[in-house]
Symmetry: D2
Subunit: 389 residues, 4 copies
């Protein structure tokens, strides 16, 4: 009964009149499975589950305890939680939680490596929990199932009511996936060499770039799991702004090496389609469905009236640097974290990563997205013609 | 020396933690050659060339004569022009043109079928010439080389100065191509059956839909070459508007069968990425590079303040119909032509066609696009900080 | 207990340093009473009341009958209604209405002159009823009290529940007024002389124009014979658009005789502050409180990205004409009515009229406006931070 | 030959039908001279002139020396300059300047009181020089004549070429004036009392508020001349933003005591009409002519899609405070200076001041404004239809 509609455009007909053809270039051919057909399967049964809950929100505690208890007792899964979670005074007093507490595995953000240890992630709370999951897993991310509590979020499509049935359903492999692309960002400091990663072999480039960028997070001890990498993968956006300076930044924007424009204003947002509905939309961007392979570039309060946001192909590499004649420096932040100064001579490189966040759909890619547009942004929600007749 | 950068995102890594995988679905896998590597080649040497010139613009005449003369005499090509062109009084007086006139092949728009007869198209004038080429070739389009006269257009990247070298270069097969996606539109009148073309076999669906829609262009005799098809392919956009009615339209928008929203306002623009810089940008849309596989949906003067434009994957099918409770009907036009009324019970279906317009780049996809943004839209062109310090 | 806050800015201090002064120009001094203090008073008790009800809406009938019955029987007022209202089949069947029907005075729109015959207006229904009242009274407008049925409108602040108390209160002279400025529009046809009304003595020009304009609203004469040009007063906006033409209009905009800019796009909206929340806001304008003395000029889908709406002082005179080099003409409509073509050589003149619509506030000017922004435009109505954490 | 057109709307006709009237309230009547007729006159001949030049711009030096020399030698005026100007190494080397240097009067910003000592101000450079003049004179401002060097600014309409004739012309009293309204801002710290200045007697309220706000500029020693006042008058805007916090601010906005809305986003701009073309326009505001008596409220990157800028009457008082439930504080800055934190319980009050900046027009209010829109914002400057046909 269930048919898959395409999200990808059909393969274009490659003859153009009687004589014209596309020149074949097998090195540049890739296979793509239609996003509409992306469904989760388990190579082997998932045994370990990481539960991430919203911090500082007491309404999450009861669902959290219910969920963890059920995963441990009914599903016999090994449940991981962040160590800090156990310190919550309200949980300490919770008798039900105390009974299962010893069965949980804990880790410390920034100290323990989660790579290859987690089969499945459940998020509980707001969109921030998924951003945190993205931060924890800077390479391959286990499938993420995200529950909102209260009202739908862009990244948290599931409601908690009958979580048991829903989690069971996912664990049995029945779930549509949205592969949310992430942006691979790297700051190249003045004087450092940057081997442009045309082949986009992230693993190998990681290796060569490690030495140069040990200092990347040096002034931010909150950052987890990044010993061996200077790439930062963002799920929403990387923002370049003028920081506390009252003067406008002058930022040069390059695309695949070509100088595209100079930005004068409060800053610039480079976002994924997922991030188009976060900060970018507040700065005036159009909303892009997460399965469109694209990068969005949005100015923040640009001085030029004609500086409209643009959408470019996902494969390009953007370079952002302070204009040589700019009076002041800029600041960069990654999904709202790791804020650091960008000095004259430094540059920020951004392109699409090979490591998306596999986000499990509550319904399907289309319904989930439009439901969240209506719920989170009130997109075109109105009383019909009430005030117009 | 020349390396191809990708425009496509890298293939995502398909393992998600130790256990998660994408479920393989070979039926939904397609091969895509990276747009950045799309270059024109000729299966056999092009012999016939269609020259389209801007109408009602006397400044085009001299370049037109030069070009046609050179194609005939130097390149020994068979040159096609529209019959009406020969009637231009200024050309009739042009002695140089009279000497080659008899060697030209003429056709009448709406009467003669050009399918498989034209190897190559040269456009001379504004963006309208390329829209006209798109209109003439409603299936496979021969490669198009478009010259602007005066200033750069979005669709006319070549300057005419040394046209001989540039055309020769293209005829020898050295040219980057932008495959500009088109939207396949069909109006299904009330009571007609519409077999949803999930397989997107446009040729076969054309056949089944022919009978039902003979009347499509019945009131517009200017339309060429459409005997056997009711699909209309647009290069820029299809527009639904309220027409002369002073009342706001109520239009229902469906995406892959799901009711997405109702539009209340002056109308709705469904555009290709190419069309994002045409009418859509005037209605507030972000600009999308032509190689991003997407469809843009932009409201025209929507009553709802929150009705921002959206960008959806190129493979979806949109359906647009008059809301049952709407007082009035709407009007549809295709790339600014074939304007017709959409009545209660009718619907307009739109999706990406398999027949793009192969548009030859002057430089490359990225440079051509950003140059035209600056030239045509003054995108972020300004005096730096002059009025701000 | 009740204190009047100013809406007008304080009178500026007119000494600029030890020596500088404003040069006194007594001819240009005017007295303004602060809008915040504008309250209705009755020179003599109002006896005749015009009741305007929304057409084609059966839900209005019951309140209409209640209101009219009460005005006739309890308030002993002479109630006027449009003749066409009595033909409504539902009213014909309404026994209660039949009992008072004979006591009503009727008039025919376009035939009967209401000037000086109506003391008070009550509107019942949507914002359109107030626009209609504005249309009926093209000079002085009696005080208007407007009830919405269902949900608040921009122009209909009163709810019907306890209409008796509220109407009584107003009839006793306790009511804040918003003087909604109107725009005086005049089309000067090619070859006609236009005596620029610098002194803005509308009264005298009215006198000469009265005879000529009886036919103004005779519905379908589209271009009434305008030997002497006739003023049309609009409450929301005058719109110039490209009509059915697929080509963009080229419109020249002059302000106090100076050529300001040329508009290329779908059209142009010249609106009052009241109209800023009607069509203009859909075209991207900011919202202006009705007591700000200003005229708003908003392009409709302008081709230029930098063509932002502008707000100019209420006293300027705008002139709009077709650019000499424009291929096509334009169309003008006034509060959505009287649509007519503007030809090459014609011009439209617009300035603020001396005849505002005295619109009775339910609360006060500030509260009424912000309540309607929230209710009608969902202005910044949202769930706080729900989707952001 | 020269006639004055009105900028103010005509006085509205105050009879509404046969019975309705505005209730007279003589306490709320004010006299306003039409802005179009505002021309500068000198009560006595101006003798002292303050010359403000752009800092850190060597191209200003030569015009500065020419101007000062001419004012001293030809006009026999007493020329004031800021003490720091004399320290400029380039000026120290300038022989011409050394000859007149001793005739200049110097003052130190923040130490010397200029009140009643300056008859006339000449600005040389960018818009910043006028902002600085506004800062120096926090009550009555002497007439300001502002030259741009290079290209027109919003606040610097004069070109320097024949400065002698132009200055002479102004000194002889032939000049149109734009009275640029300023906003009177005051931060009321938690626990401080704030006597709401309904009478808007700024002088007296200054007195009562002095004690409470000594700390206002405590961390900013650059601020001049503010011993006896805690009001800050801004010419462009006061900005409330989230500062370095990654979290969105929650700001409550009150208008005349009524809670209007809560702002969630990067911040809020409260600007004068003059400021509408500065920061506000970058945040999406419409442009308001400086003679429209209004205050503009513009959100910065608001999370709500429907949070459009609004324009309210110039006489209202705005109050801005941190929402009680907001996690973080905000930052306030005044014309880009005096940046300081706004804590929970503090509030910022803003209304129109009685002390405008009398800015001398190069042509007239209308021409100067539209010329600067075109020059500074490229407002609707474009190639006509080039890319559209």
């Amino acid at each position: 009964w269930w048919r898959t509609r395409s999200l990808n455009a059909p393969s274009p007909f490659q003859q153009f009149g009687p004589c014209g053809r596309i020149m074949k270039n097998s090195a540049m051919v890739m296979q793509i499975q239609d996003p509409a057909s992306q469904r989760l399967t388990w190579y082997k049964p998932p045994l370990t589950v990481l539960v991430i809950k919203k911090v500082r929100d007491s309404t999450v505690l009861s669902p959290f305890v219910q969920l963890v208890e059920w995963l441990v007792q009914e599903k016999n899964m090994v449940v991981w939680v962040e160590a800090a979670v156990l310190d919550d005074p309200l949980l300490v007093e919770d008798k039900r939680f105390q009974q299962i507490k010893d069965k949980l595995v804990t880790f410390k953000d920034g100290r323990d490596d989660l790579t290859d240890r987690i089969d499945f992630i459940v998020c509980l709370g707001g969109d921030g929990t998924l951003l945190y999951a993205s931060l924890l897993f800077q390479q391959s991310v286990p499938p993420v199932m995200a529950f909102h509590l209260g009202s739908l979020g862009f990244l948290t499509p599931f409601q908690f009511d009958n979580f048991q049935d829903q989690v069971t359903n996912v664990l049995e492999g029945h779930a549509a996936l949205t592969l949310r692309s992430r942006l691979r960002c790297i700051i190249v400091r003045k004087g450092e060499r940057y081997k442009e990663a045309l082949t986009d072999n992230e693993t190998s480039s990681d290796r060569t770039e490690t030495a140069a960028s040990n200092h990347l997070f040096s002034d931010n001890q909150q950052t987890p799991n990044m010993r061996a990498s200077t790439n930062i993968l963002v799920l929403n956006e990387v923002v370049i702004d003028r920081g506390p300076s009252p003067y406008l930044s002058n930022i040069d924007l390059f695309l695949d090496g070509k100088h595209i424009t100079s930005v004068q204003g409060d800053g610039l947002i480079v976002s994924t389609p997922t991030g188009s509905t976060a900060y970018a939309v507040a700065a005036g961007a159009s909303m892009i469905h997460p399965s469109v392979p694209a990068i969005m570039v949005t100015p923040i309060c640009p001085h030029s009236l004609s500086f409209r946001p643009i959408v470019v192909p996902a494969g390009v590499e953007l370079k952002i640097s302070i204009s040589p004649d700019s009076r002041n420096t800029s600041w960069v932040s990654f999904d709202g974290r790791n804020r650091q100064e960008l000095f004259h001579g430094d540059s920020l490189r951004v392109t699409t990563s090979i490591y998306p966040v596999p986000s499990i759909c509550a319904q399907d890619q289309i319904s989930d997205w439009f439901d969240s547009l209506a719920e989170c942004l009130h997109w075109n929600v109105r009383k019909r013609q009430k005030c117009l007749d």
